[in-house]
């Protein structure tokens, strides 16, 4: 649990992360119902809310459930929120798009924490696009104080406008700490719940009426944006960084040659890079955009630079509205600033130089990388000559033991999202695909169905074209050959194994498994059940028997669910027992139908898991063949001449022991 911001007294100034501040702000606004699925960088919002007094704070199995739970709370008349990472909003998009039609009773806030630069994500979609797409107001804080303020204001705005409100964070806002002055909690009187099918039952006849009403509410939202103090102008106080040839306009109001329109963390980067050499329109409410106030601002500066991370979201809207600075020149944005990855003060500086707003010429290599013309992103790789240190499976991780066996089966392994995705990296290299939460089973099913069809084509001997396609496919895969490729001759008959974690199985694996049973494919689903949600930091889930707020709950077992879904082959096995795990997998593959193997071994970082005695390498017996290093354990070190096991890291899982042909790896204190 992170520090409980609620334990802190009002009017004290403290250092809070953006996520802690959002939790605090929502709590001060009187939120009563909160639900989320964990996902970096959003996870700490609910963890903090759960520690605060008087809130129903839950981990939902997935983001759709979380948003619908919040909607239910709002329907009942209380302030409610749902929090998720950017890709989670895709999962929640279905209820989101219709909840703007119905509108709200109690205030409803959706928190989307985006991950520009993909620190911990599979994509960097810009969720600001959801605001105009779904048509809901959006607020974007630039630091923790604003995160607190906006989390509070969002509920009021939601109730005033009759719309859910999106609070859009990014990693650098969520995971940066800055100063916040705390306020008090005020729970507003709940809105009365009144049965109102015309508003809340979205059958076509009602939805058509609400669709028109939505535009009226959006009109009010536009007026609110134009009047909002969250959108503010900061006029320059000095006149430094004057571009050569720019008309002199520094007067009592300060330098007005350059006006910067910016929002979120990009505001901080722009202020850092351009300082008092520019004036700023800091947009806090980014949908609807306060376009008339932006027009007014632009009319008072010579040039406009739009500084925003990822997509040209504001730039497109500003261009479409025909906003121009007083010089008549078009506003400049993504022509000089990268649309890929995080911004930084240096990137803003280079962009301003490219546009001629700052003196000097940018470093050409860095500028080309900014423009997306090269793969190298200088900020992320300051010293490329050094060995990388990517994240790895922990010493003793049961996933490593599982993948070591899985990679030997010559199967196509469709993967999923979690710690075990690290099994895709060398030296295990035991994963063929990873798309999104729950996609392992469904992608595996489609792959298996394709192979079924291809086999049928082969069988009737009418598959000349299909054969060519298959040959091409094999050529593609030739250089990534598995140790024991089980591809049977020309027939596409690779076994398909879907690998999914316990929390991901609950999130969106179950419906996919139902499909495997219903539409009958021979996909073997391996649930890597480590009894927790590992990657995001050990959140409880429906399989753990405890809730976010520490209340006991029934333990849902993946094998029980599989049996309820009528999967004919269901077995539970400990992946640390390599022989038993391999035997179970081979029998599952041979069963000829849908199969589920629950590989159950708890995450070694769980407090309940005590490390076993560490192992060591008998230096006399070791011939430095390094076979043991192929399992990719951080505790096994090759020193250049021999192999050693770091006893402070080794958890005694013994997964490496069988790899040693010299029988040199032994438990501490045990000699031959």
């Amino acid at each position: 649990m992170t520090e409980a911001a609620a334990a802190l007294a009002p009017r004290v100034t403290v250092l809070l992360s953006g996520n802690e501040a959002v939790a605090r702000g929502a709590w001060e606004a009187g939120v009563l119902v909160a639900s989320a699925y964990p996902g970096t960088p959003s996870t700490e919002i609910l963890e903090n809310l759960a520690a605060m007094e008087g809130v129903s704070a839950e981990w939902a199995p997935n983001e759709k459930v979380a948003y619908e739970t919040a909607f239910g709370g709002c329907l009942a008349g209380v302030r409610s929120l749902a929090a998720m990472k950017h890709v989670g909003v895709n999962v929640a998009a279905d209820p989101l798009f219709t909840s703007v039609y119905t509108g709200v009773n109690g205030g409803l806030v959706l928190i989307s924490a985006d991950d520009p630069g993909m620190h911990s994500s599979q994509n960097e979609q810009d969720n600001r696009r959801y605001a105009p797409f779904a048509r809901l107001p959006m607020l974007e804080p630039a630091d923790s104080a604003e995160a607190r303020d906006m989390a509070t204001l969002a509920f009021q705005l939601s109730e005033d406008l009759g719309l859910p409100v999106m609070l859009r964070l990014t990693t650098r806002v969520s995971h940066s700490k800055s100063l916040v002055e705390l306020g008090e909690r005020r729970v507003p009187a709940p809105k009365a719940y009144r049965k109102d099918p015309a508003k809340y039952v979205m059958v076509p006849a009602n939805a058509r009426v609400r669709r028109v009403d939505l535009e009226r509410r959006l009109e009010r939202a536009r007026a609110a944006a134009e009047a909002s103090p969250l959108n503010r102008v900061e006029w320059a106080s000095g006149s430094e960084h004057r571009a050569a040839g720019a008309t002199s306009s520094a007067g009592a109001a300060g330098a007005r040659h350059l006006g910067v329109i910016t929002a979120g963390i990009a505001y901080q980067y722009a202020r850092e890079a351009l300082g008092d050499g520019a004036s700023y329109f800091k947009v806090g409410m980014t949908y609807p955009l306060p376009i008339e106030r932006i027009r007014e601002f632009a009319a008072q500066v010579d040039d406009v630079l739009i500084v925003e991370e990822l997509d040209p979201y504001m730039e497109e809207a500003i261009a479409a509205a025909g906003v121009r600075p007083r010089s008549g020149r078009p506003a400049v944005g993504k022509a000089v600033l990268p649309a890929i990855g995080e911004l930084s003060p240096a990137r803003v500086r280079r962009g301003a130089q490219l546009a001629g707003f700052l003196p000097g010429l940018p470093d050409p290599v860095a500028a080309r990388a900014d423009a997306g013309e090269t793969a190298v992103v200088p900020e992320a790789d300051p010293a490329p000559a050094l060995p990388d240190r990517p994240p790895v499976l922990c010493p003793g991780c049961p996933h490593r033991a599982a993948f070591w066996v899985l990679r030997r089966l010559g199967a196509v392994i469709t993967g999923d999202i979690g710690c075990y995705t690290l099994g895709a990296a060398p030296p295990l290299s035991a994963m063929d695909s990873c798309i999104c939460m729950g996609a392992s089973i469904t992608v595996g099913h489609g792959f298996a169905k394709a192979q079924e069809r291809l086999r049928a084509l082969h069988a009737v001997g009418e598959a000349n074209e299909a054969n060519e396609a298959n040959e091409a496919d094999k050529a593609d895969k030739a250089d990534e050959a598995n140790e024991a490729d089980a591809t049977g001759g020309d027939t596409p008959s690779k076994p398909v194994i879907a690998v999914i974690g316990d929390s991901t199985f609950f999130h969106s694996g179950i419906t996919g498994l139902m499909n495997v049973v219903y539409n009958q494919s021979d996909v073997v689903t391996v649930v890597l059940d480590n009894r927790t949600t590992g990657m995001t930091g050990h959140q409880p889930n429906p399989g753990t028997g405890v809730t976010l707020q520490g209340v006991g709950a029934p333990v849902l077992q993946p094998e029980d669910i599989a049996r309820a879904l009528r999967v004919p082959f269901v077995e539970v096995v400990d992946p640390n027992d390599a022989a038993a795990f391999e035997d179970t997998l081979r029998r599952a593959l041979g069963s000829g139908g849908p199969a589920v193997v629950v590989a159950r071994a708890p995450c070694v970082l769980l407090r309940s898991v005590k490390p076993k005695k560490p192992y060591r390498v008998d230096a006399a017996a070791c011939n430095a063949c390094r076979a043991c290093t192929r399992i990719g354990c951080p505790a096994i070190m090759f020193t250049g001449t021999r192999v050693e096991i770091d006893r402070s890291l080794c958890r005694g899982c013994a997964a490496c022991v069988a790899l040693c042909r010299q029988n040199a790896i032994r438990e501490e204190g045990v000699d031959l």
Binding site: H119, S120, H175, A383, G632, M637
Partner: protein, 209 residues
Amino acid sequence: MTAVTNVLLAGVGGQGTILAGKILAEVLRRKGHDVKLSEIHGMSQRGGSVVTYVRFGEKVFAPVVEQGEADFLLAFEKLEALRWAPFLRSQGGVVIVNDEIIQPLAVNLGQAAYPHDVVGRLQGPGRLVIVADGAAMAAQAGDTRTQNVALCGVLARQMVAALRGDWQAVIATMVPPKTVEANLAAFGLGWEAGGRVGQDQALLVGRSL
């Protein structure tokens, strides 16, 4: 613009860089500075390279430190010191590097070489490089998990941003209750070691002789 001091804390996931950064930021807040701290969680926790930025001064905008701007680099591991060294000012700057090697997987697999002469390569004009034996200090403090706070002690002495008592007060509230005594002892050892440093030379401190 007013002067902002930039600090980088770099290490390997699991070494305690995040707690060290939180302690530093809280000390600076209590001294009345505007402070921002930025860190990356998630994938990078699992034994990957991690960095925490701390910036303080009268007014801080960006929460991130950029290349060529760091005044202090506290590295919990030698390769990580080298990785983040380009973030130091080209002139001056203080590097405190833990005398600790954690080989990345590529090195363990024999696919890459761990860099040689890390301390030599960290040197720069006007720069102070301090090699600190965090493990020895933590062991002497009675808890091997206090390395991060011992290293904080060395940094604290070099930064001259707050008094010893200011740090102790924050540490006592931010580490797990059962470990307060050991952490304060570790901090004290780091603080003393940080005071034994001369100018413009690589020094090994913290090793009890």
